[in-house]
């Protein structure tokens, strides 16, 4: 793979376009997609740009096929991705689980719209946050990032690819229609200076007892790909370190699931990124992500002007959840205010971590628009009183 054709410089582009460019800068060379509002522009950009950098775009017959092709492409050695919105995200849930159990690095972007079902295709929502966490069946951990601007879509898509390789897992970029369709300045770094976490290849050549699921020290196994000569067997069934199915041993299941969970939980300090603004010493902390974090800036300023000590904790990484930070803050603040464009999802996590030490005020919105700043302001003022 070369960097020929990879952009660098300052551009005026929408979030969806920046998403595709972030992927290309990260070394993504395969996109399996299916058109869906408001994520279509990611596929369109990928269809135009991937052939220019030696990559492949294929439009599959549905979102189930898209994610299956993305997983297959990852096992061919390519960095691969897809982008979708709610209905397509729902269709991808089963194979998301296949990606998790087979430890397949890949990136899935969800440009969220208002649901449930077909809902409001052209309008914003943040209703898929718990689906991102729990949507596929069975016990697992997931990594999900939530950008608030086109620049962040670029940066976080790039980071998503590196996290996917480092921890060998599908990584979700949970953006939303407002950010995806927002056009702003996006600065794309020199491709030679972009940090790339390379695929964790086996340390020894074939024939030396390589085990596809024997973990390294950080709990993550090295990955041989198809055609490398290791003759790997990869299955969605519960498997041992050889990759062989063992569907009746509780012990094998326990060992496999525990490692899938701990490789993310034990490394959560590395994975979790939050941005804080005037959080220390605050009496109220607004916890928000995606477009809602950005929309919270104005009511927070208004509250500060009214004399309330209010801070903003922006969740850049939504999953795994920043529970240690919320727990620590809960001892010092009166309340958390959580505006999100759903009927209260991340607010439940905040409430769980606050554990009764601080109040959690949920500011709901059914979707289709952003919170009225006055509504969030009112929640902050109420929380402070």
């Amino acid at each position: 793979m070369t960097n020929e054709g990879v952009l660098k410089g300052s551009f005026f582009m929408d979030g969806d376009t920046a998403c595709a460019e972030g992927a290309i800068s990260a070394g993504c060379r395969f996109f399996g997609g299916y058109p869906i509002t408001p994520a279509t522009e990611v596929a369109e950009r990928a269809a135009k740009r991937l052939p220019q950098v030696g990559g492949v775009y294929i439009q599959m017959e549905d979102e189930i096929a898209s994610i299956a092709a993305v997983l297959g492409a990852s096992w061919s050695g390519k960095r691969s991705m897809t982008a979708t919105s709610g209905p397509g995200f729902s269709l991808m849930m089963e194979n998301l689980g296949l990606g998790i159990i087979t430890e397949t690095p890949c990136v899935i972007v969800n440009v969220q719209r208002a649901g449930p079902s077909t809902g409001m295709p052209t309008l914003v929502g943040q209703g898929d946050m718990m689906q991102a966490r729990w949507g596929s069946h069975g016990p697992y951990e997931i990594i999900a990032l939530a950008p608030s601007s086109p620049q962040e879509i670029f940066d976080l898509t790039l980071r998503a690819f590196n996290l996917a390789e480092q921890y060998r897992t599908p990584v979700l970029v949970m953006t939303d229609e407002s950010v995806g369709h927002m056009t702003e300045r996006v600065v794309i770094p020199d491709p030679d200076e972009v940090p790339i976490y390379p695929r964790r290849r086996p340390k020894s050549p074939p024939g030396n007892g390589y085990l596809p699921y024997a973990p390294a020290e950080d709990g993550v196994p090295d990955m041989a790909c198809a055609g490398d000569g290791y003759r790997i067997h990869i299955t969605g069934l519960t498997h041992d370190e050889r990759g062989y199915p063992d569907t009746v041993s509780v012990e094998t299941q326990h060992k496999m699931v525990s490692r899938l969970v701990s490789k993310i939980k034990d490394n959560s300090a590395d994975i979790i990124e939050v941005q804080e603004d005037l959080v220390d010493g605050a009496e109220v902390v607004v916890v928000a992500y995606g477009i809602s974090a950005r929309a919270a800036v104005r009511p927070i300023r208004m509250a500060r002007e009214a004399g309330v000590k209010v801070g903003l904790l922006k969740l850049v990484t939504v999953w795994p959840f920043a529970e240690e930070r919320i727990r620590a803050l809960a001892a010092d603040v009166k309340a958390f205010v959580v505006p999100e464009i759903n009927m209260g999802q991340i607010a439940l996590e905040v409430e769980r971590c606050a554990a009764g030490k601080a109040r959690t005020v949920t500011v709901t919105h059914a979707g289709g628009g952003l919170h009225d700043p006055d509504v969030v302001l009112e929640a902050i003022m109420g929380a402070a009183s």
Binding site: F30, G32, P51, Q52, V56, I58, M60, E61, D62, I64, A65, S66, A68, A69, V70, L71, G72, A73, S74, W75, S76, G77, K78, S80, E94, N95, L98, P206, C225, A226, G227, D228, G229, Y230, R231, I232, H233, I234, T235, G236, L237, Y244, P245
Partner: protein
Amino acid sequence: MIEELTNVRYAEQHPMDTLLRQDRLPHIWCSGCGLGTILTCFVSALGKSGLDPDKVAVVSGIGCTGRSAGYLNLDGFHTTHGRAIPFATGLKLGNPDLKVVVISGDGDLAAIGGNHLIHAARRNMDITVLCVNNFNYGMTSGQVAPTTPTDARTSTSPYGCTEHPFNLPHLVAACGASYVARWTALHVRRLERSLVEAIGKRGFSFVEVISPCPTYYGRWNKMGSALQQMHYYHDNSVISHGSDPADADVDLGGEVICGVFVDVDKPTCGDMIVRSQP
């Protein structure tokens, strides 16, 4: 004679051992099932194809046939139900140097995976699909499938199947496949030869193999033992190379039309992607 027999020296290794995962055997398939025979044909065909086994990947879905990938000493991917073909599509497009073979059953490929089957054939995706058709869902103990002949009984069609079945060679041929053949588990030499052709074919190649399921489908339909089903194939198979696959419907108790129905050359999906590069 007896002396000769007692002097038989057992080979240390079976010629196909290198292509099978010895540590996974014995397999889970029932006595009388056609899958062991069919897997043997595939392994023999692969040996004869001259391909480097390190560059061959097998992808399967879920079901009895879906377990095939697990017994082959190749890069093998046992994916989700119905999704072997799109997984294989990503694998092939990601690394065009690989030979990618999908081995799965009729329920996996034609029911839950039916959409992917027709689109891969339409694209002329450069993969081989070996579809083992036993007319029912064996893994879950014999339910009705989109291949179950009308009136045939299964555990979920106890009064007889009330639907028209797929004629799979006709379906994939209509969608644009480059190579389409059908055999039964009885036709081991013809099947092996056909698999060599299919593996060597550039483009979407599809081989359907009619296979006995004496445990479920055979029992529900009073077809007797596996051996009796083999006799049935012997007495009722009609080899008709080049014939119109539209005429190859499978009826309960009727003829089984076999042969190579389609063998054409046309650009593959991968070829056309390369051709369109800016």
